[in-house]
């Protein structure tokens, strides 16, 4: 079985970020870039399935700037076998649906039976890609897997729902997003890092990948940014030293604010 993991390069989560008020897009050339933290759990799960003999190949699929290869190589260093990155000026400004359309085309051509994603990306934070990709690609799908087991032609998932944890069974081919509870992602070994550079890393244009340019990028986007404001930053309020009455002072503050 072949597993595809959808991965994304995002800005460094420890850095302050900003949006260009002119274009309404994230300023992409500032600071460090990294593999989306949530994606590491999906990569780890795929690599573990391969190590356990349940899969024989793990491929990475991404949409983003050409430079993203450098960040995404970390997932190769963790043990994924190859990377296909769709990168094209016409794909810039893709919304959730443009991204899902592009990923779905690459998936269809890859022959992957199981598709794994992180639960969200640390930049957009929408958490909608697994559902959109499931719908667009016509595969069975489920989100928020706390655990996952492949048994022949189906997958059993322990799913974090709004009301608790549910056991869900779905047939392959399937699209599944995983939570941070599913595993503890490994740190790549030095050997893994060295080996990653030699693994296949293909950068494809929309035309190379056979993706309809009208379905991605700004052309295919269903939403449009009107303006970006920078509200005044939160100001420091009152800070007191506890001299035995700190708790009382908090209560007084909460009463004054009519919260309690």
């Amino acid at each position: 079985m072949k597993i595809a993991v959808c991965v994304k390069e995002v800005p460094d989560t420890t850095a302050e970020k900003r949006i260009d008020p002119g274009t309404g897009r994230l300023v992409r050339d500032e600071g460090d870039r990294m593999l989306n933290e949530f994606d590491k759990y999906a990569v780890e799960e795929a690599v573990r399935l391969k190590e356990a003999g349940a899969a024989d190949e793990v491929i990475l699929i991404s949409l983003g700037p050409e430079k993203a290869v450098e960040s995404l190589r970390q997932a190769l260093a963790m043990g994924a076998d190859s990377l296909v990155l769709v990168s094209d000026p016409a794909a810039v400004g893709s919304d959730y649906l443009g991204t899902a359309n592009a990923l779905a085309k690459v998936l269809d051509d890859s022959g992957a039976e199981l598709v794994l994603l992180g639960s969200e990306a640390t930049d957009a934070r929408s958490g909608v890609m697994a559902a959109a990709l499931g719908e667009v690609s016509g595969r069975a799908w489920v989100t928020a897997a706390n655990s996952l087991a492949v048994n022949g032609g189906s997958v059993t998932v322990e799913r974090q729902s709004d009301d608790g944890v549910d056991t869900v069974e779905l047939p392959l081919p399937a699209v599944i997003s995983v939570t941070k509870a599913i595993n503890e992602p490994r740190y790549p070994s030095l050997k893994g890092i060295m080996g990653a550079k030699k693994k296949p890393q293909e950068v494809k244009s929309l035309a190379d990948a056979g993706i309809d340019a009208s379905k991605v990028g700004e052309a295919g986007a269903g939403t449009k940014v009107l303006s970006v404001e920078t509200p005044p930053a939160r100001q420091a309020g009152q800070v007191v030293k506890d001299e035995g009455n700190g708790a009382q002072q908090i209560l007084d503050f909460l009463v004054e604010k009519k919260i309690v």
């Binding site: 649906l97 608790g164 919260i259 309690v260």
Partner: protein
């Protein structure tokens, strides 16, 4: 296209509050979309509670009752909503930002080829219908967006609007759900509900969070006791979760959840960017930390420099006395 459809998720014999919050807000918005205001209730055994939504402004409530709609999975709802959209041509469909709401909105929008504005904290009339406000990077930026076509599909962050009754009544319309085999491919075979009375982090109006300053997993008991006194949900910083002191679903921050409660109490949390972006859109922030240089004091509304192991239990007792 005309009117707004609000997706209200049933919970017990009532509804998740976020659905009522959106309905309350949508009363102001329906004229911009040419009215009327309708609601969708999908679930198993939910027909009786549907009429409650009239009190929050729904003029019509579409009820779909089917076992698969009560499974917690989104795909069956997508079929029913696509069917409702084909028959009624709503100009906007609004969802609460719950796990089920996100899944349903995304798959429905993808099926309809519609635009999706996620994590909206405000909706207003604008352009050809509505426009949405979304905080980016934990509220450092506010992005105003619209849609390039219809239907305008949005996910609304819980606690963005006040739920208020308008005293209206709704016409309840029973829908015969036509659910495809494809939507039934994923099946729930067992359910383990969360503890009774446990409040989800995203929907909580008060959150008490603990961080590195707690020092050990068992010390979360002081945070939990304060949370219980306030009827609050419990959150944790990345440091506390990474150390294995508290479960992942409770993590607040860039790599956890983004929350906007009315009150956020941070206990032993330094307030690094990672945490700040997950909670700085809270209405009121209170911080307790022994380090007076902690960044959290730069954006908390009220801060106490001191030992949380003294202050938090005292505060718990004061609140219990006040209630008592």
């Amino acid at each position: 296209m005309a009117g707004i459809l609000v997706v209200a998720e049933p919970q017990g014999s009532g509804f998740r509050r976020v659905g009522l919050e959106i309905l309350s807000k949508a009363r102001e918005l329906k004229d911009a979309t040419g009215g009327p205001l309708a609601a969708y209730v999908g679930g198993s055994g939910v027909a009786d509670q549907a009429a409650q939504l009239g009190a929050y402004g729904a003029e019509k409530v579409f009820v779909a009752d089917h076992e698969a709609l009560g499974s917690g999975l989104a795909a069956p709802h997508v079929d029913v909503l696509a069917q409702l959209q084909a028959e009624n041509d709503f100009s906007a469909i609004l969802f609460g930002g719950t796990s089920q709401g996100r899944d349903t909105a995304a798959a429905l929008a993808a099926r309809l080829g519609a635009g999706l504005n996620s994590d909206s904290t405000d909706l207003a009339p604008g352009g050809s219908g509505l426009q949405a406000t979304r905080p980016a990077f934990g509220g450092q930026n506010l992005v105003q967006s619209t849609w390039t076509g219809g239907p305008q599909i949005a996910l609304v962050r819980p606690n963005s609007f006040q739920a208020s009754e308008s005293g209206g009544s709704a016409e309840v319309v029973a829908v015969t759900p036509a659910i495809s085999d494809d939507a039934l491919r994923a099946k729930v075979t067992a359910r383990k509900p969360a503890e009774e009375g446990k409040i989800s982090l995203e929907e909580a109006s008060i959150i008490v969070s603990g961080g590195r300053g707690l020092g050990a997993p068992e010390n979360f008991a002081v945070v939990e006791a304060l949370a219980a006194s306030l009827g609050a949900a419990v959150g944790a910083s990345r440091a506390a979760v990474d150390a294995g002191w508290y479960p992942h679903p409770n993590q607040v921050g860039q790599t956890g959840k983004t929350v906007s409660p009315n009150l956020y109490i941070a206990c032993g949390i330094s307030g690094a960017v990672q945490h700040k972006v997950g909670m700085q859109t809270s209405d009121v922030i209170v911080a307790i930390n022994k380090d007076e240089e902690a960044p959290i004091f730069q954006f908390a509304d009220f801060g106490v420099v001191g030992d949380l192991f003294e202050i938090v239990p005292q505060l718990t007792e004061l609140i219990n006395q006040r209630k008592g």
